[in-house]
């Protein structure tokens, strides 16, 4: 059996995630109590027996580099194969910043040279799903396809966010429209999971690279062209849960869905473990007087107050008398005594002062800075922000990373913005 190789596109800017991806790539955004979004794709690879993976990064790769390291949590620290971080590099006549997804792969074609593979799997590091790629390989081979695109059905009002495909009964793709506006006849969306015949991929990428006017993107350029030309493109319909956590609202909903009695994905399945980099943390400590229900809690937390319908990442501290409801609290954030946090997403290592009110009042003015992404009532607090004691923060507010107590001169109204220090970049 020849080996198998996967590229994972992990350069996503994730601009609709607002503060969460301001200083990290979207695949590195924390998810589900202890994971990063990319863990699902990486775990799918190793659980499918693919132990040779290249991860393409570009936008703010530091947190991703740190997270992946040499790939040990996924058993990808191997002598043969393993994991390779592929960042754009200048200095070579062929390489530069990645222009689009197709260009990113084109610039890394040299990594295919010595690999004896018949097919190349190209994945996105942005999605939450559990998929056995072996099924995709079998479908691809049975159809003698040159390209197989995994697709999933999306709600009608979301089709304009995806690449939408139309197929014949046997799965052959007859039309591809990237983020179509106006009425469509199909709700089959590309999942960003592509299986290419190796030779065809190389041929098509070289062709696209030399095509003037192309933005060198799989969805915008390559796929529509191949389908229009009648190449052997097939759609594999994935029947299980798949979620693009592209917006703050979908991110929030997808996290909280794991609190349901029947969560969308079984994270406890010993046959399909989602692996991640975990620090050594002690078990969760529930103090006397703690009241915690309908929540996900991760090792290292110390809980003295009340927590309802929330997801707590490792090392979160909730002081006695504090109340956290309908919220997502990331690593090592401290909620002070008597503080109330209601419908908030708080990034890592933040401090909420005693008696503070985060997500306060009934007013629902959309956020001044990003009204299109922050209007459903959520409050977003950036990494290492320090909220002063007793502060009131209205809904749809955005508190920047590394804000300190002195940055607050008055209560923050609904839709308000408090910016932290400018990032050096």
């Amino acid at each position: 059996m020849s080996g198998r190789y996967a590229f994972i596109l992990a350069g996503g800017v994730g601009s609709r995630l607002c503060l969460l991806s301001e200083r990290r790539a979207k695949p590195a955004v924390p998810f589900g109590g202890k994971y990063r979004i990319i863990d699902f794709t990486l775990s799918n690879c190793v659980n499918s027996g693919i132990y040779d993976v290249g991860v393409l990064t570009q936008y703010r790769p530091t947190s991703l580099n740190e997270h992946i390291g040499i790939g040990r949590p996924w058993d990808l620290d191997r002598t043969r194969g393993g994991i390779q971080l592929l960042q754009p590099a200048p200095g070579h006549s062929q390489t530069d910043w990645y222009q689009g997804t197709a260009d990113a792969i084109y610039q890394n074609l040299m990594h295919l040279k010595r690999r004896r593979v018949d097919e190349v799997l190209i994945l996105s590091g942005d999605h939450i799903y559990k998929m056995d790629y072996n099924v995709l390989f079998a479908f691809h081979r049975a159809n003698r396809a040159l390209l197989t695109v995994a697709v999933t059905e999306v709600p009608e009002d979301e089709v304009d966010q995806f690449g939408i495909l139309e197929t014949e009964a046997n799965g052959r793709v007859t039309a591809f429209k990237e983020k179509p506006r106006g009425p469509v006849t199909s709700r089959m969306a590309s999942m960003g999971v592509y299986l290419f015949d190796r030779e065809a991929l190389i041929r098509w990428l070289v062709e696209d690279a030399n095509m003037p006017g192309s933005s060198h993107d799989f969805g915008k350029d390559l796929l529509p062209r191949l389908v229009a030309r009648g190449e052997g493109v097939f759609a594999y319909r994935f029947p299980h849960y798949w979620q693009d956590v592209g917006t703050l609202d979908s991110y929030y909903a997808a996290n909280l869905a794991f609190l349901d009695e029947r969560p969308p994905l079984d994270l406890h399945d010993p046959g399909w473990v989602i692996h991640t980099q975990s620090a050594d943390r002690p078990p969760v400590r529930f103090e006397t007087g703690a009241k915690v229900r309908h929540s996900m809690i991760t090792n290292g937390c110390v809980l003295g107050g009340e927590v309802v319908n929330s997801v707590l990442f490792p090392g979160v501290r909730v002081a006695p008398g504090a109340f956290v409801r309908d919220s997502i609290i990331m690593h090592d954030t401290v909620i002070g005594p008597g503080a109330v946090v209601d419908r908030a997403i708080i990034d890592k290592e933040a401090v909420v002062g005693a008696e503070a009110r985060v997500g306060h009042g009934d007013e629902m003015a959309p956020n001044r800075a990003c009204p299109e992404h922050l209007s459903s009532g959520l409050v977003v607090v950036g990494k290492r922000a320090r909220l002063p004691e007793g502060i009131h923060i209205g809904r749809n507010a955005r508190i920047g990373a590394q804000v300190v107590e002195a940055d607050f001169t008055a209560p923050v109204p609904s839709g308000g913005v408090v910016d932290g220090p400018e990032s050096m970049h």
Binding site: G33, I274, M296, I297
Partner: protein, 419 residues
């Protein structure tokens, strides 16, 4: 500290721990919601900068081999030094089990001779404590000692359980008493020793069996420079059900003397990948430790809950230790019990019922119910305190659904039933 070799004595089978140590060494006993007992000594080594560690194993060594492996969690997977497990072995001339602590070291002397450390630190893998060994070495050096032992103050009525040490004002050891019925000594020997390499080698020539009786005491009697160094932190020797339970319950005190949530001195262990714990709508958890991978729908109070445990709706767990992947079905009640891995408590069953003291020969159970690995308690069944259900205990072991106070159900060996 490249010139020190640490030897962790982990051979003990813990006869007084009953079913808990039936298939594992005491050092491999799960403790504190996700650790094994030996993690405390290994983490102490790691944080004290010790990088040469030998683990002397004898009883059920597979449990330790699996856990320690190449030593990665403690950064002991090294090209130079690192951790090695030293088991009894055969040579052309000789084959023998370890007869005692000193004998275990003697039998591995070739290994130490090759490494030629300046000093040997002898530890026990059965102790739960956080200690910076660098303080011990400093005291040892400052006094120019041949041997320094660590000691800790214990209540006089507990002296009968320990080796007791008396010393002069300068800390020099005067007498060593083994488990005295009456004594004026105030400090217990913790079984932690720093030996000058040459001093230890000289003493092992006479093939001693026991470190205290055959090595330390003769050294003290001969006027060698044997000193004691006082340790003030929490320390517990996990040799009995009572001490295991006491140390476990310390962790859920309001101000525990043994602190796990201290990022400057984390206890390191081999971690399995488990998702976050999920607490259901009706869950209530107080005064407890709960590890990743648990699904809690019932009530948990003053208990230690290991990874992957399920507590069903309306089930109650109180004052108990529940090891990994135990299932407590809806409506069950578990009180003052220690449940080993994969045990299952059926719907509505009661484990730890009643208030009877039990017969004197069951004093070792400390009034608790022990439930062995893989044991199943039938739905509606009842186990009175104190009692022990053996490894793999099953429905047939329950007459009329009840295991009465004072009963010990013996271990089942699943493969014997396959014939």
């Amino acid at each position: 500290m490249r010139n020190v070799m640490a030897l962790i004595l982990s051979g003990g089978g813990g006869e007084r721990l009953g079913v808990l140590s039936a298939e594992r060494a005491v050092s491999a006993l799960p403790f504190g919601g996700k650790y094994r007992v030996i993690d405390f000594s290994l983490s102490n080594c790691c944080h004290s900068g010790l990088m040469n560690v030998g683990v002397l194993a004898q009883h059920a060594p597979a449990s330790l081999n699996d856990h320690i492996g190449a030593g990665r969690p403690w950064d002991l997977d090294r090209r130079q030094g690192g951790v090695v497990i030293l088991q009894p072995f055969q040579t052309r001339q000789h084959a023998g089990w370890y007869r005692g602590t000193a004998d275990a070291i003697t039998q591995n002397w070739d290994y130490l001779e090759e490494r030629r450390p300046d000093r040997v630190l002898v530890l026990s893998g059965d102790h739960v404590y956080r200690m910076d060994y660098r303080a011990l070495f400093l005291a040892h050096e400052q006094r120019g000692a041949s041997v320094t032992l660590a000691c800790t103050r214990v209540p006089n009525d507990q002296a009968y359980r320990f080796g007791m040490v008396t010393m002069d004002r300068g800390g020099r050891v005067r007498t060593l008493e083994e488990k005295p019925e009456r004594t004026a000594a105030t400090h217990a020997n913790m079984g932690i020793y720093v030996f000058e390499f040459d001093v230890l080698r000289e003493m092992l020539r006479s093939r001693p069996v026991d470190l205290v009786l055959d090595v330390l005491r003769p050294l003290v009697d001969a006027g060698e420079r044997v000193y004691a160094h006082e340790f003030n932190g929490f320390w517990e020797d996990i040799g009995t059900v009572a001490s295991y339970y006491r140390a476990s319950m310390e962790l859920v005190q309001a101000e525990p003397r043994l602190q796990l949530h201290d990022s400057r001195w984390p206890i390191l262990t081999r971690d399995e990948e488990r998702p976050a714990a999920v607490l259901g709508d009706d869950a209530s958890v107080e005064g407890s430790l709960v590890a990743n991978g648990c699904r809690i729908h019932g009530r948990v109070e003053r208990s230690i809950v290991f990874p992957g445990v399920t507590v069903g709706h309306n089930a109650v767990v109180r004052d108990s230790v529940v090891m990994a992947d135990v299932v407590i079905e809806p409506g069950a009640r578990v009180e003052r019990a220690i449940l080993d891995k994969y045990a299952r408590v059926g719907e509505g069953a009661i484990v730890g019922d009643g208030e009877l003291a039990g017969p004197p020969e069951l004093e070792w159970l400390a009034g608790l119910v022990l439930v062995g690995k893989d044991a199943w308690i039938p739905p509606g069944g009842r186990v009175e305190r104190p009692a022990a259900i053996g490894v793999g205990g099953r429905y047939e072991d329950f007459k009329d659904g009840v295991v009465p106070s004072g009963k010990v159900v013996h271990n089942r060996r699943w493969f014997e039933e396959l014939r």
